[in-house]
C-alpha cells in the first residue's frame, strides 16, 4: 500500500509543480469548446438542432482526459532518460505495484484535468441534465483516466525515446476520439465503422459520460462500466509484464 501511495504522491507533486502542464493540456479541449460551441454551434442552432454544446460536452471532457492520461505514459520515458527509473527498477517491490502506483497517479491527474474541462464547459453554457448523476460521471471520468493512463504507461514501457512515443500517441488519439461517438452519435454508422467503435474502449467511456451527463446512452451503464474495468485490469497486467522487461 505504502509503495503505491508514494508513487501516486510523486506523480501528483510533479503535476502540481508544473503549471505549464496544467495550462498546456487544457488548450486543446478549450479550442474544441470555442470552435464547436461558438462557431458551428450557432449554425447548428439556427438549423434547429438544439444546444450543440450539450452534445459536445461529454466528448470534449473525454478527449481532455485521454490526452492527459495517455501522455502521462511519457513520464516513464522521462524517468528513463533522466535516470530516476533505475531507482524504482532496482527496488524490492512488485512490478504490478509500481504500475498501479504510476497509473493511479496519472489517472488522478487526468481526472482532475477532466474536471477542469467540465467546469470550462459549464462556464461556456453547458448544464448537466441531472445533478444527481454527477458523482457517477466522476466515476466514469476516473475509469477512462485509469484505462488510458495504463495504456500510455504500457506503451511507454516499450519505448525509450520521446519522439517515438509522441508519434504513436498522435496516431492513436485522433482515431480513438473520432471513432468513439465523442462528436457524432454512434447510431447509423456504416458497418465497418460500427465494428471499430465497438472495440474502441473509449466508446464505452464516452457512452458512460453521455449517460451520466446528458442522459443519452448507447450501450447501457452496466456494459460501459464492465468493459472499462475489465480492459483496464487487462492492460495493467500486460503493462506490468512489459515494465518488468525494461532494461537500462
Amino acid at each position: 500500500m505504502s509503495t503505491i501511495y508514494i508513487l501516486w504522491l510523486r506523480q501528483l507533486k510533479r503535476y502540481f509543480r508544473s503549471k505549464s502542464r496544467i495550462v498546456g493540456s487544457l488548450g486543446q479541449p478549450l479550442l474544441f469548446l470555442l470552435a464547436f460551441g461558438f462557431g458551428f454551434g450557432q449554425v447548428y442552432q439556427k438549423a434547429g438542432g438544439g444546444n450543440y454544446i450539450t452534445f459536445l460536452a461529454p466528448g470534449i471532457v473525454a478527449m481532455g482526459i485521454i490526452f492527459t492520461a495517455l501522455f502521462s505514459g511519457i513520464e516513464i520515458i522521462w524517468d528513463r532518460q533522466f535516470g530516476f527509473l533505475k531507482e524504482t527498477l532496482a527496488a524490492p517491490v512488485s512490478r504490478l505495484k509500481i504500475m498501479l502506483g504510476r497509473t493511479l497517479g496519472g489517472a488522478t491527474v487526468a481526472s482532475f484535468q477532466g474536471l477542469l474541462v467540465l467546469l470550462l464547459a459549464m462556464a461556456a453554457g453547458f448544464r448537466p441534465q441531472n445533478i444527481a448523476f454527477l458523482p457517477l460521471a466522476l466515476v466514469f471520468m476516473l475509469l477512462i483516466s485509469l484505462l488510458f493512463t495504463a495504456l500510455g504507461t504500457a506503451i511507454a514501457s516499450l519505448l525509450s525515446d520521446m519522439q517515438g512515443f509522441q508519434l504513436i500517441m498522435n496516431f492513436l488519439i485522433m482515431p480513438l476520439v473520432f471513432l468513439s461517438g465523442a462528436f457524432s452519435p454512434l447510431d447509423g454508422l456504416p458497418k465497418a465503422l460500427t465494428a471499430i467503435t465497438v472495440v474502441n474502449p473509449l466508446s464505452y467511456g464516452v457512452d458512460g459520460l453521455c449517460h451520466t451527463l446528458i442522459g443519452v446512452s448507447h450501450f447501457g451503464l452496466l456494459t460501459d462500466f464492465m468493459v472499462l474495468s475489465v480492459v483496464t485490469v487487462a492492460i495493467l497486467i500486460v503493462g506490468s509484464y512489459l515494465f518488468s522487461k525494461i532494461q537500462i
Partner: protein, 271 residues
C-alpha cells in the same frame, strides 16, 4: 558438486563465466569472482572496462548474455525479488528526481525499501546532516550542484541497511575531503552491520585504502585479483599504481575512456 561448494564457502556474491554482449561488442568477457559476506570488494578499472555493466547485471536491471550468478544465494535473472531484497545501490549515472526536494527523494526511497517510519526519519536526518544537506532538504534537487546531487545519492543509498551495498563510483566528482568523510561512514556500516560492500572506482588510492580485495578489470576481463599487497607482490611493484600499469600495460586511459563514454551516450540516444 556446485551445491556442496555453496555450502562450504559463504560467498554472498558468486559469479561464474559472466559475459555481456551489446550486439557484437563484448562489454563483459567471461568473468568469474566471488565476494565473502562482510567483505569490502572493489572493481578497479578504467572507464569502459565493464564495471557498470557488471553491476547492472548483478542488480537485476540488465540481462546477462551468459554465465552463472548468485546474489545472497539467488539468481538475479529468475529470482529478481529475492535478489532485490538483499542489496542497496548507488548508481554511477544520475538517478534522482529533479522535480522533488532532497527530503522527498529520501522519503521516496525509504518508503520504497519499507524502512519503518521512525527509523526512516531518524536515518534521513542523520544522513542528510552527515552529507551537509540538511539545511537544504526542502529545496528542489534541480537547483543542486553536481557534487550536492552526488552526496544526496550516496546518502539515499544508505537509508536502508541492506546485506550487500553496491557502490558504482560513489565518490566520482567529489573533493578528497568529502570522499574520506563518506568512506568513513560506509566503513562504519561494514563493521557494525557486517554489510558486504561491492564498489567500483577508478581512483587507485581509494581502492588501495578501502577495499580488502581488488579485482583489476580491463576491456571486460578480470586481469588480476587479490589484496593490494598481493597485487603488488605478483607484479613486483611498490604501489598499486605501478601494479595496475604492469597488469594492464597502461595508465588510466582518461582520454580514450571519455571517447567511449561519448559513443555510449550516442548509442543511448539512438535507442
Amino acid at each position: 558438486m556446485f551445491m556442496e561448494n555453496e555450502k562450504i564457502n559463504n560467498n554472498i556474491i558468486e559469479v561464474q563465466g559472466l559475459t555481456k554482449k551489446f550486439s557484437d561488442f563484448v562489454a563483459v568477457d567471461n568473468i568469474s569472482f566471488s565476494v565473502d559476506e562482510g567483505e569490502i570488494f572493489a572493481f578497479l578499472g578504467p572507464n569502459g572496462a565493464g564495471k557498470t555493466t557488471t553491476i547492472k547485471i548483478l542488480t537485476t536491471i540488465l540481462q546477462p548474455t551468459s554465465g552463472k550468478i548468485f546474489i545472497n544465494g539467488s539468481d538475479p535473472r529468475t529470482e529478481q525479488n529475492d535478489v532485490r531484497r538483499a542489496f542497496g545501490i548507488v548508481f554511477q549515472d544520475p538517478s534522482l528526481d529533479d522535480e522533488l526536494t532532497a527530503l522527498e527523494n529520501m522519503e521516496f526511497h525509504g518508503v520504497l525499501y519499507k524502512v519503518p517510519k521512525e527509523m526512516r526519519q531518524k536515518r534521513i536526518e542523520e544522513l542528510l546532516k552527515y552529507v551537509e544537506l540538511w539545511d537544504r532538504r526542502n529545496e528542489l534537487v534541480k537547483k543542486f550542484s553536481g557534487g550536492m546531487k552526488r552526496r544526496l545519492e550516496v546518502a539515499r543509498g544508505l537509508i536502508h541497511h541492506p546485506k550487500i551495498l553496491f557502490l558504482d563510483e560513489p565518490t566520482l566528482g567529489l573533493d578528497p575531503q568529502t570522499r574520506n568523510h563518506i568512506w568513513n561512514y560506509i566503513k562504519g556500516l561494514n563493521q557494525t552491520e557486517k554489510m558486504t560492500v561491492f564498489l567500483t572506482t577508478h581512483y587507485m588510492e581509494e581502492a588501495d585504502k578501502i577495499a580488502q580485495r581488488i579485482a583489476v578489470i580491463d576491456h571486460g576481463k578480470i586481469v588480476a585479483m587479490g589484496t593490494s599487497a598481493q597485487l603488488k607482490e605478483k607484479t613486483k611493484t611498490n604501489s598499486l599504481e605501478e601494479a595496475f600499469l604492469a597488469l594492464t600495460g597502461n595508465i588510466m586511459r582518461e582520454e580514450e575512456a571519455n571517447s567511449t563514454d561519448r559513443l555510449r551516450m550516442m548509442r543511448r540516444m539512438r535507442h
